[in-house]
Subunit: 457 residues, 2 copies
């Protein structure tokens, strides 16, 4: 009997997701319906696949949305996160499983008991981060526990970066995902985590100066800054007693210190609009954040304000972005500083056609066993193939697709609003990811506890 | 015929207000009713005055509140700002004038047409700042305009400080008003102002490093940092075309740079609670904001993090507040960093019985006249008498009291929701304030435009 999978939203993260499902269509007897508001954007080789039906769907069209969900055996929502609840309620109404790559919202979690009662699986956070981070971490943590170990430390960092062969600017960075999220990263409250049993708090304006470093074999050195709430999965992972719990974002070394210049200037502020920003020169934009002077240049004022020495590499990074250019003009009108900065950065940090992206993930696990302390480091690097088949699309799309098939084949027996932290989910997905080149390398390390001065290689 | 004045709320700012009204009681035929939730706190010499009636009133008791307002000829609300609207609506219902020292809220402003229609005066912002700043500035601005001048620059700074004879700590500061407002000062968005025709924006974490300086004859040097919205009264003052518009807060020199240490550490954050803050030592509190180290002291970590040299006076300021003390314990539980910092500061910055406070206000007015440019600086210093008769209570309470009598005597003919920027209000009040020792000194200066490097004496 043919099973129907309804995929809502066919954005840029869905190339691998759809390829995977279509490749399994014959063997698994799948029919895939892709519903998107702009169905004409869907690649011809997908749209013309015989196991595939493409339809135009406005997600706010309740009648049509419900009709499609009713006909499906399982629903995959790749829509913006705010729209999942709408879909989830219909799935509940019609008794369908649901898969998303997004964070579980409080509203979604509130449905948990009803979802369980109907023996449905609403699997979320099954992309990259969140997703592969959960699965790879829990596989190692459960392994440590099974041999009698007690967890002492868990650190986890992920970065969406540019592949070495496409790394052509002074920032060692290009936008491979939503640029707005990059510009606003870290805002909204102090970062909170635990280091060696002590709570630590970092305000936004210090966040990018409190990095730690990582070496990844064959790929060199990276840095990481703290996420807002490292403690989010403490209970879910069973890490209530660990001494160190720290989650963050990875960048190439030097990015964060340079990004901090924007933070210090106030250019990442999204809270107010700049009057008449349209037509303002990049130079005038920069000058908005500097003290008035009747004689000094914007350059000297900025150097002085941020204490940038003559020979500091940071300077070149600003020049590369044309921030002192008196001809380049801002296009957005009444933009917030963050919106304008995003426009400036997009001029320089957009992927070229031939550019490849790169995903890096780094975990550290410290544990005690028979009165001795141990550490395991695990890391994963995935390089994209091209602008469409990116490492980001692969690492987000494949686990979503694999989870969908697992649930459809009744291999997931834990019902309710879920994240992929149980063996029945992470074991088959991680092993299938490995076959697809998404591989974690593990290293036995001496246990050092948390020490940001040391580097692990 | 006896006129009745209803004073709602008799907090610490009302000593001069009540003294003034009672001193005018006989000549002006006034009866003053003071309504407070804790009437027993009102000083005996006031409570027993024959022109005075003291009553207990819960402002949320609608019936009794309305009864009192109905019996009054005019209402003075010294309640917390959030409660004025309640009172204003009753004043409207019963056709009574209203006076407050608080900012005009949008909700209050929405009543403007109805207030006008009933020929009532709702006079607000008639304390110190806002209040005396409006009146003293508008008197000089109107004077400049009357002689044909065109305004080019307006800067205005006010500070609630400690008198020189009571200035006994390294910060040259004690709390003379609401400590919470001091701890949270500058938060909530970037400061915005205009300097020589250019908008300027300062993010919170740079606010206390972008000060300018003032010399006040006989009182030495002060500094000022920008208020959040310097442009607030641009229309009200008729300053749409000025090149420089800058409003701020005054402190003794060195305060802001030292305060910035708290900002940088994240200690002024009011957005999250510290777990188990009760019983935590001051030293452990400080350490929450510093990187983990298995060996280094809190002192060295802080020096390194904030780049404080061995011989920097900033260091002594931290030590004076006992921030490295391993015995002193925090009392507030689950406090935000800002609440805990306030508790720490209150240990050191509370007024002693004999301490006197000091109010300083500094205006600069630049203008063009017959193709030449001029500048007038005006400043005011008021020293308190004692802990009860503070300069703050005097400069807030007296203008409120004077405005009340003016309105009662039908000397204010502009109806509606008002601030004191018309001659009929500011001229009589400023001249009466002068008789009470609240005096502005004016200085003719060479016009310099805005230049934060220069000092005006």
């Amino acid at each position: 009997m043919i099973r129907e999978i309804l995929v809502l939203g066919a954005g840029k993260s869905t190339a691998y997701l759809l390829d995977y499902l279509l490749s399994k269509a014959q063997e698994e007897k799948l029919q895939i319906t892709i519903a998107d508001i702009k169905p004409e954007n869907i690649a011809k080789e997908i749209a013309t696949h015989k196991a595939c039906t493409v339809i135009g769907l406005d997600i706010f069209n309740e009648k049509e949305r419900q009709r499609q969900i009713r006909m499906a055996n399982i629903v995959v929502s790749m829509l913006p996160a705010s729209l999942h609840l709408l879909v989830a309620k219909d799935c509940l109404l019609h008794g369908k499983h649901l898969v998303t790559a997004s964070y579980v919202s409080d509203e979604l979690m509130a449905l948990n008991d009803v979802v369980k009662g109907k023996k449905l699986v609403f699997m979320n956070e099954v992309g990259l981060d969140p997703g592969i981070d959960h699965m790879s971490a829990m596989q190692i943590i459960d392994g440590i526990r099974e041999k009698g170990g007690k967890m002492l430390l868990f650190e986890s960092f992920t970065g969406g970066l540019i592949a070495p062969e496409s790394d052509t600017n002074l920032w060692n960075y290009k936008f491979t995902w939503n640029p707005r999220n990059v510009v606003l990263a870290g805002q909204g409250g102090a970062a909170k985590f635990i280091q060696e049993g002590t709570y630590k708090y970092i305000p936004y304006h210090k966040l990018f100066r409190r990095t730690e470093f990582f070496n990844v074999e064959g790929f060199g050195r990276f840095e990481g800054y703290a996420n807002r709430d490292s403690l989010k999965y403490r209970e879910a992972y069973g890490l209530q007693d660990v001494l160190t719990l720290y989650r963050g974002t990875m960048r190439r070394v030097g990015f964060s210190k340079a990004w901090n210049m924007f933070v210090q200037l106030g250019m990442t502020d999204d809270g107010y609009a700049i009057e008449d920003s349209k037509g303002m020169t990049y130079r005038a934009f920069t000058n908005l954040f500097l003290p008035y002077s009747p004689t000094d240049t914007v350059e000297l004022k900025l150097r002085h304000y941020l204490k940038i020495d003559q020979d500091d590499v940071m300077w070149g990074k600003l020049v590369e972005l044309h921030l002192f250019d008196a001809n380049k003009k801002i296009r957005v009108n009444q933009g917030t500083p963050a919106q304008i900065l995003q426009e400036v950065l997009e001029q320089c940090w957009t992927l070229d056609t031939a550019d490849k992206d790169m995903i890096v993930m780094y975990h550290k696990f410290g544990y005690a066993l028979h009165d001795k302390k141990y550490q395991i480091d695990a890391n994963m690097v995935v390089i994209g193939e091209n602008q469409k088949h990116t490492a980001m699309a692969k690492t987000v799309g494949l686990p979503v697709a694999m989870a969908t098939l697992l649930i459809l084949n009744n291999k997931v027996t834990t019902y309710g609003v879920q994240i992929p932290i149980t063996k029945e989910v992470y074991n088959p997905i991680l092993s299938e990811l490995k076959e697809n080149g998404i591989i974690f390398k593990e290293y036995d390390m001496p246990y050092m506890g948390y020490n940001s001065e040391l580097e692990y290689s």
